[in-house]
Amino acid sequence: MPEGKVPGAYLGECYSAGEEWAVEIYNTVADALARLLNNIRCAYTFKYFVYKGTAGTDMFDRGIGELIRKKVRQMLVNPKWADRSNLKFIETPGPNNLDALVGAAYLLAADLGLL
């Protein structure tokens, strides 16, 4: 690994360059996330899968979403739930954890009975 590189960022570059070891790691991670998604989707109905976090955002930017979709399709009791129209991967809106800052305001407003 080049000096000064962060492992996750280096992995991403090597995955995008099609390096075998990086593709293997992406497959392992996608498999784990597909199983997680399958487990949750078995209990609750949703189309919108909103992701955040440095590691996750980098992998979704590099297309791990479609890998997850392919894998979870084989796990779900109804494969149609993995169709693009039924499962949408969305990055959380805003920089600087804006979602958390806005949510703290929203939940306080709800506590105050303003909503």
Binding site: M1, P7, G8, Y10, L11, E20, W21, A22, E24, I25, T28, V29, D31, A32, L33, R35, L36, N39, I40, Y44, T45, F46, K47, Y48, F49, V50, Y51, K52, G53, T54, A55, G56, T57, M59, I90, T92, P93, G94, N96, N97, L98, D99, A100, L101, V102, G103, A104, A105, Y106, L107, L108, A109, A110, D111, L112, L114, L115
Partner: protein
Amino acid sequence: MIFYFLKSLTLQEEEIAMAETIFRTADVGGSGKITRADVVLNSVGRFWKADNLITSKPINSVSELIDFTTADMVPGILGVGYSIAGVNDKHNKMIVAPNAHYLEGHKVATLTLAKIGHRYKSSVRNDMETSAGGVHAMRAEAGIPTNAPFLIITIGTGIGAKYALLVDGKLVILDSEVGHMVVSSSPFDPRCGDLAIGHVEGIASGPAIDRMVATYLLFY
């Protein structure tokens, strides 16, 4: 912030015309730094704008946190809301705070009101709860229809998720510990932080991926 301001113009006109509410909020991040903002919501709780977004230097005590969070309060602020990873009691006392151990045992909301006065309100919320609340308030920006349930997942130092849905028009965020769901049954899987084998956090979180990269690079 201009971008979000413009985006919020896509909301229906009557929503914009209604009264706004302002809250000072603070996010306690993994770096030890705190980001604060003045978040303006419209009367139906939709995100309107975030002003005065500022990030602190690393902070090491509850009094520093409160001083930074409540500095330069603008007129009209109704309350102070915190977003802090971990476990809290009654939206006030921090029980476990992995990003800010100095907060453990402290009633952060009570201490905040002791400083700024009881005309305000204050509460402490788990960071995934606030993220879910924020995505709900920013549905227009995220592209999520008004009543659609959603899952929000963080893939970072750990893995956490919340399922959010509307019940009688009210947002309900279900509690969960999905990071510790078993997603693999291989005995060769790495261990999670809690030492269990096969947990998703032990395989797909940032640190788990870093360890995998280090291991693979030994052999390639």
